[in-house]
Symmetry: C4
Subunit: 194 residues, 4 copies
């Protein structure tokens, strides 16, 4: 099986997911500044989700770079990840339209949590096929960010019942934590090539 | 004619089909758990169709891998398949919105049946151009799954008049039957390359 | 400039155009056969437009195959073609929702006419850069189909005021005339390569 | 990191942005010429935005052509550009629906301004990594068009309070100024290769 087509298909799905989210921002019928104001939370949730999809695309890109053999299991683990990410436009729109209300914020966290779990499964599969001395294994190290993220999402889901603003702060924090691209793999690949 | 562009175009269409389905999941105006409940059948039909498109992408990927020459006939047989698959978001949304009602479930089956027939025509065309000793011919063997699926869809379409739950069970069964990727072709290619 | 990226971008736009048309087929709120009936013209116009986009993709594919140098002019002539083709989902939905009414049918023809003119301009540009002895020039010959199509569209636009059914018949006829892929170029390339 | 995947992802997002804009053109329920008339501003704003996305795709294409090394910073600078461009369908629809009203016209300019700034940041990053003697540096020269555009957008945003027609004229002027593809880089590459 061809890795290029798996990458191209994933890129296609992620490019569509990141772009169709904008279709959930319905423009107001009025043409005044006051008509645009209710869209501020919609715009903010759009921005956060754009960053999350960007992070997934970036990390996915890095991880797939180390893959040489693609089999059926990997393909389905990848589709499983794309499935959860494909639901982000839905929760993004819902969270925005309800101005970060408690329950939608919890559902947003559940989708992020499921995406993180799906990413973890895909990562485990790739690591397993490459052995403990692979570039990816070295690059990930203890994979602190990967282990911390699901815990943070769980905290955020729980916190939404106290105050959804706490959930929002946690989602933002995790996004910023990952925004720094996975330089670890990058460095390893450079070191390996030299 | 270039095989790569045919693959890239098919991947593009399938990536869009699998992703725009999410636009059919309209988020509720309320922000409570009870507001999300009516979406459960919509979410379930989305999941089933996501798996079906994934299966088609995977099998299409394998089958095209064995193709070397692309001609006009093949291109149109491929577009014919994409045509039926492009209607899946429509039936998926309709089935979900109507909580698996009888007639929408039958229409869902008709689209799956037409897609299976289109896939079969494409497969025959490729087999015909490669001869009986080709990798694909060997890999398919008696092609039990390929022959069983249309019969199952017919059964499911008929069963929708008795109880649409039977149709749903059949669609799920066929999906799970195919979820195991077409390892037969995979094995043949590995054997051939060695 | 890179031909591959021009092809990839065009394929992307055409794959999206052909797929988002399905979003114009709004599923009915009811779940009976009578609820689906009003969608028959929508489904028919979808099918016709799917074939037209397929034809453009196919012919575009063939024509670009003969291009070696891409410059700014070619890029804009290509975008100009994509612009008119991008309006097809709009007219398709409008024609379908109004059951092939006279004025929407005329607008459908205008979009087809503008697309044909844009394709003709792109073709002229490529022919001009390749000279009269190029594969494309030989393959096109007198380009009867290319010259006949705009005339047919004009006839269909005019006929919509008498009876939109005549326009529909003409659009179908032109589509079937082109459905046979541009085997002329295919044959020339095979002959050249031998 | 692989430049091809960055290009492919950017092309994918731009192809989707340029195409989903058409979904904002809602066809009227009537089927007369008078029903289509209110869509004229929607169609005009669509055309202008189509040209803008085309310009960005073209210039992006040229600029990326000169890049050899892709790092995390570049990837995020690129996503930042795609973020602002992804909002163009929203403002395009809003401007069109409100027949070029003052405030939507200003917002349209803000999105164009932010896109221009994001493009400038991406350009600076690439220039910085290549040094002052690079093809891109030579090709850009004083980059008059790149420096003039944000000033024009600012003027247009301000002018919208006086008369939104002035803003429209400025947006059109800037688009036409860029429509001529970045032949400077093209010439330099040709000269370099010889």
């Amino acid at each position: 099986m061809n890795k290029n087509r798996l990458e191209a298909f994933s890129d296609g799905v992620l490019a569509i997911v990141i772009t169709i989210m904008v279709l959930e921002i319905k423009f107001p019928s009025g043409d005044e500044w006051t008509d645009l104001q209710p869209l501020i939370p919609v715009f903010l949730s759009y921005t956060l989700s754009f960053i999350y999809i960007g992070i997934y695309w970036n990390n996915h890109h890095h991880m797939l770079h180390t893959v040489t053999k693609v089999n059926g299991k990997l393909m389905w683990a990848n589709l499983h990840l794309l499935f959860w990410l494909s639901l982000i436009p839905f929760t993004t729109g819902w969270v925005g339209e309800n101005s970060f209300a408690a329950f939608p914020m919890a559902v947003y966290g559940i989708i992020l949590l499921m995406s993180a779990i799906a990413y973890f499964i895909l990562q485990r599969l790739i690591l397993h096929s490459q052995g403990p001395d692979s570039i990816l294994a070295k690059a990930l190290g203890k994979d602190l960010k990967g282990k911390l993220s699901p815990i943070m999402y769980l905290l955020a889901i729980g916190a939404s019942w106290i105050d959804p603003a706490i959930s929002g702060a946690i989602y933002l924090f995790v996004a910023l934590m990952w925004l720094i691209p996975d330089l670890r793999i990058e460095k390893m690949i450079i070191a390996e090539t030299d």
